[in-house]
């Protein structure tokens, strides 16, 4: 029993015949080969699988691929634009926001969404928004610093573009 599922991922439309029970994370990783999103706890607790569905972050282990049919998805592979890293990615490099890297794609997708809505979040706001995502390496300190770095440098980019 399969159904046709068509999803626009990072601007490209993909269509696959899949079982209705297939989870979005497995659709992305195994059907499309987009392995940047990670499959972690499988219980919507850890947040490694966070992607955007119609411009809002979601834990993709808890969404059926069928539910994304006709919708758009953005994954970590879609953060870089025209060969230029997103300020969030640059921030994670500059501030050592990762060690093992397992949680990183989910953290960055949530961070990008936060900064799109709150360009200058304070530390408490950052910690709140990533409170449903688990990092076992950094103790979160460097993740918070990375997102702050991205906030600062996103604004500078905007000012340069405006100037």
């Amino acid at each position: 029993m399969t159904m046709r599922v068509a999803v626009t991922v990072n601007g490209t439309e993909y269509a696959r015949d899949v079982e209705p029970r297939l989870l979005l994370i497995h659709f992305l990783r195994d059907e499309l080969g987009l392995t940047g999103s990670h499959w972690g706890c499988d219980t919507s607790n850890c947040g490694s699988c966070v992607v955007w569905l119609d411009a809002r972050p979601v834990k993709s282990c808890t969404v059926l691929a069928a539910m994304a049919d006709g919708r758009s998805v953005r994954t970590v592979e879609g953060l870089e634009q025209d060969g230029r890293l997103d300020p969030v990615q640059e921030g994670f490099i500059q501030c050592h926001g990762l060690q093992c890297g397992f949680c990183t794609s989910g953290m960055m997708m949530t961070a990008r969404w936060l900064l799109d809505h709150h360009p200058d979040p304070d530390e408490a706001e950052i910690r709140e928004v990533i409170s449903g995502q688990i990092c076992r390496c950094t103790g979160y300190e460097n993740i918070v610093r990375s997102i702050r770095w991205a906030a600062k440098h996103s604004r500078q980019d905007d000012e340069e573009a405006a100037g």
Partner: protein, 301 residues
């Protein structure tokens, strides 16, 4: 490919209108999926094995929070994040914002729905206790029209509600009463976890014969502690007619603790949970009264 947790085979249909959803739901083995953040994990564990899922995420006509007829009306498809962002809901019923701040996490709250929380009927669910405290009414839509069921009669037991085949929860209505204050207090093991215990209070205060404040009615909701219909009925009955003071609030907490039915589990032993019920009920009442008295004084709560 070897996946650790996969739901069993299921059919999938996307509802294009409420009428279409009701027609699909007339098949008895269907389940509604909205946020899916309780149902899909339960399907992975085979705790739920629906034959067909009816996806109602496209029914945006059920996604609203508005005032109508002296009531706050919350569409079943309103997301937790919408309720937390709603200034009108927070102003009238701060208990909603208290609870939403400590439910799950911000990403889950973007998808989980108010209606889904009630229909999941988890015995540790927060909004069930909140809606019980504020004496809300569930609007259940069927092919023959709407029927209204008090939230206090909505749950039949764990994971069971009064919603039958061919029916859909459409809205939850909360009566707005002047002079009311409300609050929610929860203890969980870590951020975003289910409650070890939690208590919600909605307090309506009037004036007694000597112009001193007197509690005209109290709504007390409890979750995760085996309270029937999420209600602390004996404590509510005690509070009516009492002065809104520390002695009344403490006594109500003790009564609530005595009459609930917590069970020992990985979140704690029974006596600890009863202790929490007493303390959290008292604190929720204290805060509800503080907010009610500010509202009475004409200041924003």
């Amino acid at each position: 490919m070897h996946y650790m947790q996969v739901p069993s085979q299921v059919e999938y249909e996307r509802a294009t209108s409420v009428e279409h959803a009701l027609s699909l739901l007339s098949r008895p083995d269907t389940r509604v999926v909205a946020g899916g953040h309780s149902l899909i994990p339960m399907m992975k564990l085979r705790l739920a094995q629906p034959g067909m899922l009816v996806d109602i995420n496209g029914l945006t006509e059920l996604a609203y929070i508005r005032l109508a007829g002296g009531q706050l009306c919350i569409g079943a498809l309103a997301r937790h994040a919408d309720l937390l962002d709603s200034a009108v809901a927070g102003e009238l019923f701060p208990i909603f914002h208290d609870a939403e701040r400590v439910m799950a996490d911000p990403i889950v709250r973007l998808w989980g729905t108010v209606g889904g929380s009630l229909c999941q009927a988890d015995p540790s669910e927060d909004l069930s206790a909140v809606f019980a405290a504020v004496r809300a009414t569930a609007v259940i839509r069927g092919q023959d029209g709407d029927r209204l069921v008090p939230v206090r009669e909505f749950h039949l037991g764990p994971y069971e509600t009064v919603i039958g085949p061919g029916e859909l929860l459409a809205e939850v209505r909360v009566p707005i009463q002047p002079g009311t204050g409300s609050a929610y207090q929860k203890v969980s093991r870590r951020t975003g976890d289910w409650s070890v215990a939690a208590a919600g209070a909605a307090l309506r205060v009037g004036e007694g014969g000597n112009h001193e404040p007197v509690i005209s009615s109290a709504g007390l909701g409890l979750t995760a502690v085996g309270a029937e219909h999420f209600v602390a009925a004996e404590a509510e009955a005690f509070l009516a007619g009492q002065p809104p003071d520390e002695a009344s609030f403490g006594r109500a907490g003790a009564i609530a603790a005595q009459h609930c039915h917590p069970v020992a589990d990985q979140r704690g032993p029974e006596d600890y949970k009863r202790h929490l019920v007493a303390e959290l009920t008292t604190r929720a009442l204290r805060r509800a009264w503080s907010r009610a008295s500010r509202a009475r004084a004409g200041r924003p709560s």
